[in-house]
Every structure is written in structure tokens, then in C-alpha cells.
Symmetry: C2
Subunit: 417 residues, 2 copies
């Protein structure tokens, strides 16, 4: 298999000022191509440390993908470090310089010395054009292995990867007859990982020695990830399907979804096909459910709108929840959730109304309704159901969980899973 | 200074199935304590690789914080690897076992062999109790340096860090007279990093050799991060303030905020103090602005609610936007944004109405109104203003930017910045 390592450069990653989404994005893209990310390392903008990482990663992998440190200011030192490491020197790349000039012109900005410096690249590197920014990528070949340096700005890195590196990885796998690696994820719900392992049994009895199975617990339930390694994707698929059938025979009842994890896409396509429309009524989530429905393009046929009723006043005035209900049962109650989902369905004149009302925390809990208590209501013409969930103490997680369970609940109600 | 390295274990991080928020969280917490994260590495669940990382990180740092691989299933191998590395063997820790039993009892689950295994720890390690889960942390001392192993589940890791490691780090810094490291971040807007550097000038002319200044560009504008190193936090603060005054004298006009980056907190406190209330009317953001206002606890005095009007129908029926306006000017227009913000203010009977209507993309753009065109309206009694923004092609970024500019715009209107 083709081994790839990732090296992220930048203090902002080490001190937690920036979450490293680049590494996750690259990891996912590389896995789709059948290569294997064997290691990821993050270091500060420090020449000596970066060079020693190059040494180490060249031993451990076939391709090193470096991100960050290519900006025009004094603190960005990747380019000089590359020259130093590969015993190279900078020269002006005319095509890059033209790109920079035309980009600045489009943005109405003046050309300065610092922009010319962005067009300087090590002589022996191959320039990988950047279609959305000024800093190009640079490819180095060293003893049959590759090192690629890219800017750390996510959309610029994504563009360079898509325009140049995808094909490089595909070609390397083909030319050097690497096995491809492929994964399948099964989302389960309601059963702890140790019980799942008991039900499925010892992996050594059904997995071959190039395959793996991992249990990934999270607050949404345990994911089971299968990994296989074969000479091509077809063979991977056949093997994965075999494992899946076996696992299904053991834990079918606990499986929520298989494969692509973005079940929102499936949901929206289904609603589109059935010409069903949706509106939401949100209290503690404050808009997160609406944001989830509109995350993907093309949801406008399905998602009509909704009511954010964070306050009781808004629940009464904008959603027509009865004041007597709020007084008697409280805002976080089955009765309120039911009225919210039914009323938002009627007020927005849609097929499905979904409501969320809960105590996200950290304050507002009572012994009877502790922090983490959330009611989710779904109203589909003629049928109104609300269910209670008890999550934990973390506000952000409670809000995310509420959205994720509301979507899961709609799946169940539409018999989609 | 006290050097800390982070080691994350788990294939799910390498293949991008999970974004490594643990590393960012730890990085931020450690920085607050004045220690320095010098390196972060992510590796697969592979005994040999993990052991060679231990070797390497012991050379580079004083404390190694390891997360992941402590679950009860076969794929979690951190504990046996630790025994192997430290030439130790597992024994049952009675206190941990009692904790696990009481946790299972509370959750109504049966005690199984696998749970007893969770209470097995290396004999020579110090157990760090886990107040929110079954897997304890383990502390090893080796030649005056520490290695700590913690579960990868974020809230369990957070609890163990807060309960045990914060104090360890504080004590180490004090006992060994380490310098503390401290940072200050300045958020700027509207000026590219190269221009900022030109305005501020050569860092060597005003920074001492233990201080650093970095430019961090993002789509929200460039952040300037100052870092200093002194014998205590007071001295750090004095030095940072000096640098800040200097930078202010150079780029004052471009500074949006200083220090704590969550300016939402400042905003909500201000609105609370002034007894101002807010409602939002969202189209392309589908709830993200409401979600931002309710992200922090305690926003309920300020944030009343809002209207999600993703469809034109909802804009007319629920927000009373005139059909003639939508026909003549379109949903993404100054006129529509103005009506949305004014009407949501009146309908929710609040002091401030904020509206967002735009073309998030990737479809729906026209030559006149390309993808990325967003109108943001703010209505404060007696004054309605809407401004147009032109963002890029990325749907997710356009939505986030819309929220962030809407909040910035409110800052400007309230003269808070």
C-alpha cells in the first residue's frame, strides 16, 4: 500500500488557536483514493525541527504532504527550510508571478515586492499552480519519494490537492502496484462497545490478516469501522460486503446506518422524492437544526423555514404555544414539544414539523428535569409524537446531540433506516 | 519553559473520520497555564510505532500527554503497549474497579468481565481517576519526565486534565523555575497580511529575542499573535501590553478586537447591560446566526427568537416581506434585507433585528448576483441599514462569514469596537 504522512507547520495549531481541519480533510481524501495515512505530525515554525521531521517521515512514508508556513510574512519559513534541506535555491517562477499579478488585479490590489517573493520557488521543485490564491504548491522528488509543500489556508490547500495530488496518488498506486486500502463504517446506536464486541465475537475468527475492525464510541453511538486491503477497489468491496453481511447477522437491530455517514443527504433526497416539506421549531438549539437542514445545497425544495423560539414569549407569540401549557408543564415538556412541532407544521403549511426544547445547560436544571433533558417532537400530518432524551452536562454536546437525534428520529418515523 | 508534547492514537484521526479537537483543546489549556506545546503527533494503533514515538517525545519534551486507545475492545492497545514500554505488568486497581461498578450501577448496566479489565492498570503507574467514565488516566514517571495516558473521548479527557494535570503542570513550572509563555491575539480586518507587516515594520526592531509575532490570515481577516516568555505572568502581561501599544500606534484603524476572541461574549454582555433584546431573520444561513447567539449560556435575556425564512413563501407569510419587493428586487437584495430585519424586530417586539439573505452557493448565482453575494440588515429602532458583502464560492465558508460579519456589523452599529 502507498504510505503517506502529513506534516502540519504552525504554532497556531500547537497552541489550539486553530483546529487542524486540514489533516482530517487530507486523511479522508487520501483514504478515498486507497492510500494509507500512516502518521501525522504538527510542529512549530522552527527550521531545525522541520528538517528533522522531513528525515523521519521520508523513512516512514512514500509521500510527505506538508501544509503551512508559506505566507509572505517573516514568520513563514517553510520555503527557506525546503531550500536548505534539498540544497536548492529560490528563483522566480514566471507563470506563478503572472498568476499572482492577475489575481491581485482582479482583487483591485497593488503589486508589491512581497508579492514577487511569493513567486520565488526552489529551482528543483515542480510548481503546483494554486487556482485560488497566491502561494503555489511545490513538489520535490527525492530517492523515489515525494515531498509536497502547500499553503495552510484550507481552500487553497484543497484546490492544490484536487488539481494536482489526486492524480499523483492514483498514478503512484497504479504504477507501483500498491494494494488499495478501503473502509466501511457502520453506525450503531444504543449498545455499548463491549457488548457489540461480545455479540460480534472474536475478530480473528472471521477477518483475514490484512483486514481490521475498530469500535469507535462517541456520544452518537458506536461506529464500527472495517478496513480491508486488496489489489483493487472491486475486491475490497467484495470483502467488505462479506464482512458486513456477517456483522448484520449478529447485530442487525442495533445498526442505524451503513456507509456514507452524511445521512442528512439521504434524508433530503427522500423528502424531495416524496415531495415532503419541513419546518422546524427550535428552543435550546437556537437554529442548529435549521442550519443542519440547509448545510447541503439543494435543500430549498424541502426546507421551508422555521421558528426560533428561545424565549417563552416567542413560543407563545410566534408559535401559538398555549400559555397555560407553559405554566402547567414548563417549556421543556412533552406537551410543549408537541404543540411546537404541530404548530410550526401548520403555520408554515408543510408536511413535517420538528421541534426541539430542552435544557442545554450548564444552568437551568432541576432534580426533576436535570441539565441534558431534551424533548423532540415530530408532527407528520395526523400523527404527533414527542420523545424525551437525557443527555449529559455539556452545553455544546447537548445541542449537537439534540439535532442529531431529531434527524435520527425523522429517519425512524419515515421508516428510512 | 516547560515543554509538553501531545500524542494522539487512533486510525480514525489519520483517515479523517474524526477531527482532532482533543489536540486543540489541550493546546489551548496548556498555553493558558504558561507551558509550551512543542509537538503533536498522531499515529495508528500500532505497538511498535507508539513505542518509537514515546522514545522520540521523551527526548523532545518534559511531559508527554497521550490520548486514545484505552477502550475495552481488542483494537485498543495503549495499555499493553505501556506495560511493554515501561517493563510493567497490569494489576487490578480496587478504587478504579469500585468507580466502574458504581458508574455501571447508575447507568443500569450489568457488570461484565470486560469492565473488570478496564480496572487493570500498570503496577508502577499512578492512577488518575476519571470522574465521568470508566477508563482512568495513568501517570508514569521516567527519568524526571512524565508520560500520561488518557482516554480519547473528549469529555473524559477534559475531566482527567482538569482534575489532575492542570495542577501537575502548575507545580512543575513552579518547582523547576520554568519561564512561562503567554500570548495575545489581535484580530484585524480588511488589510492583507503583507500590508500589515509593512505598516508594523520589522519585528526585530521592537521585539526582544524571547518574543514572537505571527500573522494568521483567515477568511475573517488576519490575526496577529504575540508570544512572550518571562519568569511570571505579570511580567508577560507588561511586555505584551507594551507590544500592543506599539502595534496600536501603527494599525489602530484595522483592529477589530483584542485578546479573547469570543467577541460574542462581549456583545451579549453589552446587550444585557443595556437591556437590549435581539431577534434574527435568516435565509441562506438557515439558523446559524441564532445558533451563534445561543452558543453561550446566559443568552436568554438577550436573544428572544427569530424567523428562519429559507423559502420566499416563508419570507412573505411569516416575515411579512412584500411579494412585490421579492418580485422586483429578488430575495437577495437591499430591500428584502431591510424588510426582514425591520419586520423581525417588530414581530418579535425586540430592540434589534438582524437579517441575512444571500446566495451561499454552489448554485443560484447570476452574473449580476454571483455566488457569495450576501445582504446583511440591521434594524435598531429608528434606523435600518443593510450592507452587501461579496464572499467566495464555498457554501460553508459563505454561511460562516455571513454570521461573522453580521455580528461584526452589530459591533460597529453599537460602537462597541
Amino acid at each position: 500500500m502507498l504510505k503517506i504522512s502529513l506534516l502540519s507547520i504552525g504554532d497556531e495549531l500547537l497552541i489550539g488557536q486553530t483546529i487542524n481541519t486540514n489533516a482530517a480533510w487530507l486523511g479522508a481524501e487520501i483514504s478515498k483514493l486507497g492510500a494509507k495515512v500512516v502518521l501525522h505530525s504538527t510542529v512549530a515554525d522552527n527550521k531545525e525541527i522541520i528538517k528533522s521531521e522531513f528525515d523521519r517521515l521520508f523513512v516512514l512514508s512514500d509521500i510527505i504532504l506538508v501544509t503551512g508556513g508559506l505566507g509572505p510574512t517573516h514568520d513563514d519559513i517553510t520555503k527557506v527550510t525546503l531550500c536548505d534541506y534539498f540544497n536548492d535555491e529560490l528563483h522566480l517562477d514566471e507563470i506563478t508571478f503572472e498568476n499572482i499579478k492577475s489575481l491581485l488585479f482582479k482583487r483591485g490590489r497593488e503589486l508589491k515586492e512581497v508579492h514577487r517573493m511569493q513567486a520565488l520557488v526552489p529551482k528543483n521543485s515542480k510548481v503546483l499552480s494554486n487556482s485560488v490564491g497566491t502561494a503555489p504548491g511545490m513538489l520535490f522528488l527525492s530517492n523515489g519519494k515525494y515531498l509536497v509543500s502547500m499553503p495552510g489556508v484550507p481552500y487553497e490547500m484543497n484546490a492544490i490537492f484536487n488539481d494536482h495530488l489526486k492524480q499523483l496518488i492514483i498514478d503512484e498506486i497504479a504504477n507501483k502496484n500498491h494494494n488499495v486500502v478501503s473502509y466501511l463504517t457502520i453506525q450503531t446506536g444504543g449498545v455499548p462497545e463491549s457488548t457489540l464486541e461480545e455479540m460480534i465475537g472474536d475478530v480473528n475468527t472471521f477477518l483475514d490478516n490484512k483486514s481490521s475492525l475498530a469500535y469507535l464510541p462517541s456520544y452518537r453511538g458506536v461506529k464500527i469501522r472495517l478496513g480491508v486491503q486488496e489489489s483493487n477497489f472491486e475486491k475490497c468491496q467484495i470483502k467488505l460486503n462479506g464482512y458486513l453481511e456477517f456483522i448484520k447477522s449478529k447485530i442487525n437491530e442495533s445498526i442505524i446506518s451503513i456507509g456514507d455517514e452524511n445521512n442528512l443527504e439521504t434524508l433530503i433526497q427522500y423528502l424531495k422524492d416524496k415531495k415532503l416539506t419541513v419546518a422546524v421549531a427550535e428552543s435550546c438549539t437556537g437554529g442548529l437544526l435549521g442550519a443542519a437542514f440547509t448545510e447541503l445545497p439543494g435543500s430549498s425544495e424541502v426546507f421551508i423555514g422555521g421558528e426560533l423560539t428561545y424565549s417563552n414569549r416567542a413560543k407563545v407569540e410566534r408559535l401559538c404555544v398555549l400559555e397555560s401549557t407553559l405554566e402547567k408543564f414548563g417549556a421543556v415538556s412533552q406537551e410543549t414539544a408537541l404543540q411546537m412541532s404541530e404548530n410550526v407544521r401548520k403555520l408554515h403549511n408543510v408536511s413535517v414539523g420538528i421541534s426541539i426544547t430542552g435544557i442545554a445547560g450548564p444552568d437551568g436544571g432541576t432534580p426533576e428535569k436535570p441539565v441534558g433533558t431534551v424533548w423532540i417532537g415530530i408532527s407528520i400530518e395526523g400523527e404527533n409524537i414527542a420523545k424525551m432524551y437525557k443527555f449529559g452536562n455539556n452545553r455544546a454536546i447537548n445541542r449537537e446531540l439534540s439535532v442529531s437525534y431529531a434527524i435520527n428520529e425523522l429517519f425512524f418515523r419515515l421508516k428510512l433506516n
